[in-house]
């Protein structure tokens, strides 16, 4: 009979400890959810911001034309100015 009471005490202590651990795991899991939602919002906004990347193709075209004009300007200066 005494062994049954000892087992009861052990069960009570184990239940308290188990509940405490499970509460910690549940709290950590719940804290991840809002952060994941925030990351999802930021990623969506970043994806929308990158829609302007296509404009870089136009910039590339402009720069290519400017460098061509620059080369012509340099050639004119080479003719106009005497060498050192």
């Amino acid at each position: 009979m005494i062994w049954l009471w000892i087992m009861n005490v052990i069960l009570v202590v184990s239940a308290v400890l188990l509940i405490a651990l499970l509460r910690g795991v549940l709290g950590a899991a719940k804290s991840i959810v809002p952060r994941v939602d925030a990351i999802a919002g930021v990623a969506a906004a970043a994806s929308r911001d990158l829609d302007a990347v296509v404009v870089l193709l136009t910039t590339q075209n402009y720069i290519s034309q400017i460098v061509g004009s620059l080369a012509n300007y340099g050639g004119s200066l080479d003719v106009a100015l005497p060498d050192a």
């Binding site: 549940l26 899991a29 959810v33 994941v36 994806s47 829609d51 990347v53 910039t59 340099g74 050192a84």
Partner: protein, 257 residues
Amino acid sequence: MSLALGIMIVLITAIIAALAFFLISTIFALVKINKGLTVVIGSVGEIIGKTAPINGVLDAINSNLVAGRDVLENLFLKKAGPDAGGLVESVFPGEGAKFLQRVGRSGPVVNTGVVYTRGVGILASLGRGAPIGAAHAKGPAVRDPKYATTAAATLYPRPGGARARPKSPVVGTDSPLQYQSSATPGVRPHPREGVDVGAPASGLDPTTGRIVIRQTEHQAAAPLDQAQASPPAAGGEDGGSSRPARLDVTGKRPWER
């Protein structure tokens, strides 16, 4: 059934219930996390897809800019010569050494802006090839004496040296040379310095009533010699007594009647 056994059964049941509650709650939280990560992965996939061509575009832009920079730098090196590094340093501090390294040159970089102003340095380098940048920036200013303003000023010599300038005359009461008003126009009230005091002064001749201007001996020396060489006065009331240098009231010599 004993009391101890009953309590044990209740405890075991409570533990199983607690386990079930917390595990199920954790499962729900993990499901929410999974759904959120799915959304994030979709957005990240879009980002990767949109940024994929950026590398190629930026590489092309960079290659174009580098080509343009090389064109200008080579042209600048060709036109400015050894002063190119110093000129770049004067416009963009810290870039002179990088410029020389890019174009494969070596040597000290002297900030020409320290010695000359920007425009002067560029014009001197392009136009005259002056040896600017020949010394260290912390040293004394380097200027070509051949093209300095002092050398140019020697082209127009003036008394007192190249830098001398004629002084403005001092007039008014502070003037070192003060004049006194005379009673008769053209006649000095007092003899000048160095004139013999005993010499007869110019003025009204009481015997003839004419204004006579008497000169000193050394002043009259040359006219006297000329007068002796030239035909003397033909005569007259003062032909023999008056000196040849005297002028009558009409401003003529005695023989110039």
